[in-house]
Amino acid sequence: MDMFTAMHNGLVQMGVPLWLANLVPPLVKSLILLLFILLNCMFLIWMERKVAGHMQRRMGPMRTGPHGIIQSLADVIKLISKEDIIPSGVDRWVFVLAPIVAFAPAFAVFMVIPFGPTLIAQDLNIALIFIAALTSFVVISFLMAGWSSNNKWSLLGAMRSTAQLISYEVPLVISVVAVALLAGSLSLQEIVEAQRQSFWYILVQPLGFLVFLTASLAELNRSPFDLSEAEQELVAGYNTEYSGMRWALLYLTEYANLITFAAIASTLFFGGWSGPVLPPVVWFLIKVYFFIFLVMWIRWTLPRIRVDQLMELGWKGLLPLSLVNLAFTGVYVLIR
């Protein structure tokens, strides 16, 4: 990224100490990513409402701006200006920290996602493991939020989503490992390159992709796996007691995770930023938004499943399938 190198060099020439200059490019990168996430999330919130509305033969938000396009902005302003309530009886520190613990890894994951051939914050050679490790933080944040709220709905919601996340993380990681095996690398950039050399991995990993998709829906707590926030049973799950900005942060995290999922899915199985004619970033965003739309579509199409079905599907369905997929992939790689 020449822009950042130039910035760094410029700072050094201006007499800024080296260590400070070293810090500037990462900070700028982070800021750019943060902005990207915030804007997209706001757009997604609006998009979800519009998709939901049209699927249910209504309009969705229409009042603020053309087709309600700035509805999300209005919501943000409302949430920021709300009173910051910390209920009595909560474990204050944990309660406050939980949304941050949830958001930080969701944000950090974007560091390794390749938006284009050179458009990547940090091309780690262990990117896939990095992502898996960071996403496992979500569990802790849920437990923190649910426990600290001093509310049984929150606690039960947290325990549910934790059990769900733990169960589905295993097939998710295993299906991802199969892709890494094919590409011979854990780096996302190299995986994209490998797909450019051959073909999109969806062609050889249809089963892996299905497992990945299903497990991701569960990881994202999206329908039909949104048991942790099943309104009818648990009010709103672990974030029942949250309000205002903190609640917004948790909400933001969910959409950030949705983008992460879409980005990883398109990177691992659909060639990432690669594509003809259009610039890479555009291709990437097209694919990401396709997946986001797919998830929304599923949400407003499928009913929620029961807890026991959830666990059965995870351990008896997806895990064996992912293992079979991994085994076949291993054999394929060996004889290739």
Binding site: W19, N22, D91, V94, L124, N125, I126, I129, F130, A132, A133, L134, S136, F137, V139, I140, L143, M144, W147, L155, M159, T162, I166, E169, L186
Partner: protein
């Protein structure tokens, strides 16, 4: 002292502080969360020591899995402790009604151990850090695991499997007994 050194010292300080909090926290839930932070700090130390793969694995295994199941264990085994000690149960759990072994002896032992180790470490002649470190640790690790250490690796897998089966069996037996 480079920036990295300072970062290391900071991370180490955070790690040690959270480890200390694990031991002295009154609420067991807090202890578990501090433990998570400790694990994260250890992951940071790994990263600074050039073991990036292990750092990720540390987060994945310890923060993601071990901390979670410990919290689960807390929630399932001692619901009354979830809220922390009741107000009348004395000021500090660590110094509650203790027989001899809660006296100064463990403290002396632990401090003695740490002190002797630090002293020993300071006396030793240690190699200076190498200038460059291989960045391709996953490959190094993979090659070592699947060639020279393949048998220990397989044994470790068996251990994991046995632990898995054993844990399920332990939990199941009780269920059917009730």
């Amino acid at each position: 002292m480079t920036v990295t050194d300072w970062v290391f010292l900071a991370v180490a300080a955070v790690t040690l502080f959270s480890a200390y909090r694990v031991v002295v926290s009154r609420k067991i839930m807090h202890a578990a969360l501090w433990l998570g932070l400790t694990f994260f700090g250890v992951a940071g130390i790994f990263l600074l020591l050039g073991a990036d793969f292990l750092a990720a694995a540390q987060v994945l295994v310890y923060v993601g899995a071990v901390t979670t199941i410990i919290i689960f264990g807390i929630m399932l085994s001692t619901p009354e402790e979830l809220r922390g000690p009741s107000p009348e149960a004395g000021s500090d759990a660590a110094s509650s009604a203790a027989p001899t072994r809660r006296s100064f002896l463990p403290l002396v032992t632990a401090i003695g151990f740490a002190a002797v180790m630090v002293a020993l470490v300071n006396r030793g002649e240690w190699p200076s850090p190498p200038g460059s470190v291989s960045t391709d640790t996953p490959r190094l690790l993979g090659e070592a695991l699947f060639t020279r250490f393949v048998i220990p690796f397989e044994v470790a897998s068996v251990v994991l499997l046995v632990a898995l089966v054993g844990a399920i069996a332990l939990a199941l037996k009780e269920e059917s007994g009730q």
